[in-house]
């Protein structure tokens, strides 16, 4: 296969995508890396200050809090969302009635923009008038001010994060599950394997590439959480729910410290890269077509 013309074909096949990527994504990223070494304030041209931003980052306790919060958010959302998503996706491949309706109901929330979603959750969690507190009080549990209390602000955001992440996980897994040949399941059935057994020994192993994809993309998304936090809590109170991107946006557009914000973004890039590489390495060890 690797003769003459065929040697270049792969490169040509990725070229259109890659070219656009290089210009509109890679170039800005490299620029940001550069800006991380300057004191750019948007309105003034930038001046090189070497590693000063990174020194400051090291000592910035607010940023450290944001990192910890982000990690909690990450673990707290993707583990439940992916587990539940897996179960749901498997259930949805069974031939049950109302299949299409169920699928639609679980996909649908993804259709609304994150702003509309966050606003409805604001109302749901309203301490005085929201139905969640109303329902809790009906069973005798005291309803608290979930979003405005430093102890419960992050957990509340995490629960909402699971809710939004669930639909995504399910859609991706469903696409993957449908790529598995029906005949494998039939053969297993004939051998006497039960539903859960078929799930465990056929579905999960064959889903590995898609699962890896899901883990990596869900991780990246959760590291970048911003819109949800911004509308629900603004990062507070007392920075109890601030995240890395919340800090970045604050530094860029409220303190005009784009250089510092860029160094934060590079840090984010760094840890995302490390975590992604780890997941990739762990996940690709067994796939056969590597």
């Amino acid at each position: 296969m690797n003769r003459g013309w065929n040697r270049i074909v792969p490169y040509l096949m990725i070229l259109p995508n890659y070219l656009i990527f290089a210009v509109f994504v890679l170039a800005p990223v490299l620029w940001i890396v550069y800006l991380g070494f300057t004191d750019y304030t948007i309105l003034q041209p930038s001046e090189w200050i070497g590693g000063r931003n990174y020194e400051r980052l090291f000592k910035d306790t607010l940023f450290h809090k944001a990192i910890i919060n982000t990690i909690w958010y990450w673990i707290g959302t993707i583990v439940p969302a992916i587990l539940l998503g897996l179960v749901l996706a498997a259930l949805l491949t069974m031939k049950i009635r109302l299949l299409a309706a169920f699928r639609a109901f679980i996909y649908l929330p993804g259709v609304l923009s994150s702003v509309a979603v966050a606003m409805t959750w604001l109302w749901l969690l309203d301490p005085l008038r929201g139905p969640i507190n109303g329902a809790l009080e009906a069973v005798g549990i005291e309803g608290r001010n979930w979003l405005q209390n430093p102890d419960t602000s992050l957990p509340s955001v995490i629960v909402i994060g699971i809710w939004t992440g669930l639909g995504y996980a399910m859609i991706v897994l469903l696409a993957g599950i449908q790529g598995i040949s029906e005949s494998l399941y039939e053969a297993a059935s004939l051998d006497g394997a039960s539903g859960p057994q078929r799930f465990r020994y056929i579905t999960v192993p064959l889903l590995k590439p898609i699962l890896l994809f899901l883990f990596i993309t869900a991780t990246i998304r959760s590291f970048q959480v911003f819109d949800l936090v911004y509308i629900l809590t603004g990062g507070g109170p007392a920075n109890s729910s601030t995240t890395i991107v919340t800090q970045i946006v604050g530094a860029s557009f409220q303190e005009y410290r784009m250089g510092y914000a860029s160094s934060m973004a590079v840090f984010l890039l760094g840890i995302t890269l490390i975590v992604t590489m780890l997941q990739y390495w762990l996940g690709s060890r067994n796939t056969t077509t590597e």
């Binding site: 400051r56 607010l62 604001l122």
Partner: protein, 435 residues
């Protein structure tokens, strides 16, 4: 072979990307250089002014368009191109435009946004134009309001003010057995009444005595602090919110919260404040901010007065609002000035302000304005003793740490004194780190 593959693929891509990045950066200088030549634009030549205004509301957009139409008919050689941007995203978009050299000629600017960026030299100094034209607005403007847009002897913005005297719910006062026509006259009385006006059911406050935001709550705090004669940072931008007066004030506010007289909320949340949602009996709010409440609850239920007196007799109101500014690098500074001047002419600013809820900042407009609605008299009166944020690029840092201190104090993370002192120190460290 592997290593080579890496190098061969990454290097050209990196080079290409950096080259493109470099190209783009050059554009900034060019624009700046070209602007210098443009200012002598002759009259008779068609000039287009790009004007950006922060709003997404149709009423405001219509009012802006009305101003523009009138201006264009008086100045046939000047055309104004309007772009409206929602307030919450406004500065982000504006600063991106500035960074790319594509900023508008004339634009609106939030209060905090102007005063914290004025030192960067990006806005046009209007003082020379004011002097040249002997602009009568200079004397007609309320002095405190004119001053808000000044910095180091120059005039960088003209303010459309939104002022926050004291508002209260007469019906809630009645329900609490208080005289509905009698607002608190001193700060101490304010705190007292807040406790009397609260309504607590089953251990939950369902009506706050006073509307004070507990997250991102620097503005109600400032409303009170101004009455005590102080500010939260000084002219050099150093934090002063750990002063004794400030500590005592925050301790009182935290006590109010503990006593259930305040309902906690985030001032930036989309639903509005407790007062506008009829959950509080008193508030420092502007007439614009309470406009929706006027409609739903009825204007007769809302009372307006100057803020209660502080210890030294101050009755200063917090004033914020939207500035109108011109970009320093505009190619048409003369025309930009004409537009700004037009905007603040008596009839024009009156019409605009009444439609959009700003207070017309010209003293000569008093009689006309008061005629429209009784609470306008209070707003106008308040303009005589008004203060906003001082000009300082360290504004953002001070606000950040003040907010944090307030949130820590309210939520019991630390006692008020510690919260304020620790955060003031953090602010000072960060400021020192910048130099």
């Amino acid at each position: 072979m592997r290593k080579k593959a890496w190098a061969l693929t990454i290097a050209p891509i990196a080079a290409l990307s950096l080259a493109l990045a470099g190209c783009g950066g050059g554009a900034n200088e060019d624009n700046g250089a070209a602007a210098g030549q443009g200012s002598g634009a002759s009259s008779g030549e068609q000039v287009t002014l790009k004007f950006w205004y922060p709003t997404a509301e149709q009423i405001a957009i219509d009012a802006v368009n009305a101003q523009i139409d009138k201006f264009e008919s008086l100045h046939p050689d000047i055309k104004v191109e309007l772009t409206t941007i929602p307030f919450s995203e406004y500065f982000q978009k504006l600063s991106v435009a500035y960074s790319g050299g594509l900023q508008p000629d004339v634009h609106g600017l939030g209060f905090g946004q102007l005063i914290s960026t004025v030192g960067q030299g990006k806005y046009l100094d209007l003082q020379p134009y004011i002097d040249k034209d002997s602009w009568e607005g200079k004397d007609d403007f309320f002095p405190d309001i004119l001053k808000a847009g000044q910095w180091q002897g120059g005039q960088y913005g003209l303010l459309l003010p939104e002022i926050r005297p004291l508002a209260w719910r007469k019906d809630f006062f009645e329900e609490a057995g208080l005289d509905p026509e009698s607002p608190p006259k001193t700060v101490d009385e304010l705190f007292e009444l807040a406790n009397k006006l609260k309504v607590v059911e089953n251990g939950k406050t369902v009506r706050a005595g006073i509307d004070i935001a507990t997250s991102n709550g620097e503005q109600p705090y400032l409303s009170l602090l101004l009455l005590l004669g102080e500010d939260f940072y000084d002219d050099e931008g150093n934090p002063t919110f750990d002063s004794d007066t400030s500590i005592k004030l925050v301790e009182r506010m935290v006590q109010l919260y503990k006593d259930g007289a305040i309902i906690p909320y985030n001032s930036q949340q989309v639903g509005g404040s407790t007062f506008t949602q009829s959950q509080a009996a008193m508030a420092f709010v502007s007439t614009a901010g309470a406009a929706a409440l006027k409609q739903s609850a009825g204007a007769d239920k809302i009372g307006w007065a100057l803020p209660p007196e502080g210890a030294a007799g101050n009755r200063t109101s917090l004033v914020l609002g939207t500035f109108l500014t011109a970009a320093k690098n505009t190619k048409h500074p003369e025309e930009a000035w004409e537009f700004l001047k037009f905007w603040f002419e008596k009839d024009n600013v009156f019409e605009f302000a009444t439609k959009t809820g700003f207070i017309p900042p010209l003293q000569s407009l008093k009689d006309e304005y008061v005629k429209l609605s009784p609470e306008n008299e209070i707003s106008f009166e308040a303009l005589n003793h008004a203060q906003g944020y001082r000009a300082s690029e360290l504004w953002g840092i001070n606000v950040k740490y003040l907010r944090l201190a307030l949130e820590e104090a309210y939520n019991g993370v630390k006692p008020a004194a510690d919260a304020l002192k620790d955060n003031a120190k953090l602010a000072r460290d960060e400021i020192a780190g910048l130099k």
